[in-house]
Symmetry: C2
DNA sequence: TTGCACTCTCTACATATGTAGAGATACAAC
DNA sequence: GTTGTATCTCTACATATGTAGAGAGTGCAA
């Protein structure tokens, strides 16, 4: 049992994506970087980030007057968390229908479909040899 | 533009799944049905349901002393909403990586993989003839 | 007409989340 | 020392979400 499910709110996703882009970073950095998109003030960004530290989503290291933040979870972990949530609630844990819905919903190009087909083939091969 | 994204909280998912199982239903029904899983009191269930009506997730029809609820969204709509959320936030809208992650994460049986492969093949065929 | 049994309405409270202002601090430049 | 400027800390408030108790309305059975 690795970690109790990781779940992010919309605001948290916005922040953590910015953190991933430039790892140790200060709150004012993030605030500036997001200003165009979100119009959040420094206080807002800072509050969210500190709450994320409390939740274990970020780490904070204080150096003099500056607080450096880093992500405490990888993008993959966060992605898995999000998928796990959808899988559990919307699809009762059934993976196949979920993938199916995904294929139905999106407009995938022939190229992308081909790529997926390849992926699955490889996966099957690996499953067999295991 | 169909509907502004549908999003459900954990509690709401629990409720709406119960409603889908037995369409017009009263709050006490749902409460009883969920009691084993959730231990929610009648008040709790009722409050959530009424809030869901306010959000347009359920409809309520009052007949004398009884309020009948129905789902205002289909399971498919709700599923799509959930996937759209994950897609947008965790994968920046890129479907292929999302499917990929899904394949990596879950332990799909060879059978299921085969089924998916078939699905994709069909999809490609349809895409071509279109 | 009294009393259950059922369902409802109203109100309440804790925690979570989104959002931000006001004032304190630290450090560099003058 | 005084003044800026960047950064921080604290506090606050609105809305959302989870959770539930107390008491009122309705109708059947005795």
């Amino acid at each position: 049992m690795p970690h109790s499910e990781i779940e992010l709110t919309e605001a948290e996703w916005t922040i953590i994506k910015a953190v991933w882009e430039k790892q140790p970073c200060a709150a004012p950095d993030i605030q500036e970087r997001l200003e165009k998109k979100t119009a959040w003030t420094y206080s807002t960004v800072r509050t969210i980030m500190d709450r994320m530290v409390a939740k274990g989503l970020l780490t904070a290291e204080k150096i003099r007057n500056l607080t450096l933040y880093r992500s405490a979870v990888t993008r993959e972990q966060a992605q898995r968390g999000e998928l796990a949530y959808a899988l559990k609630h919307a699809f009762n844990g059934a993976l196949t229908p979920m993938v199916q819905c995904l294929l139905d919903a999106g407009d995938l190009s022939a190229d992308e479909l081909a790529k997926l087909e390849t992926l699955i083939k490889e996966k099957r091969k690996r499953a067999k040899t295991k």
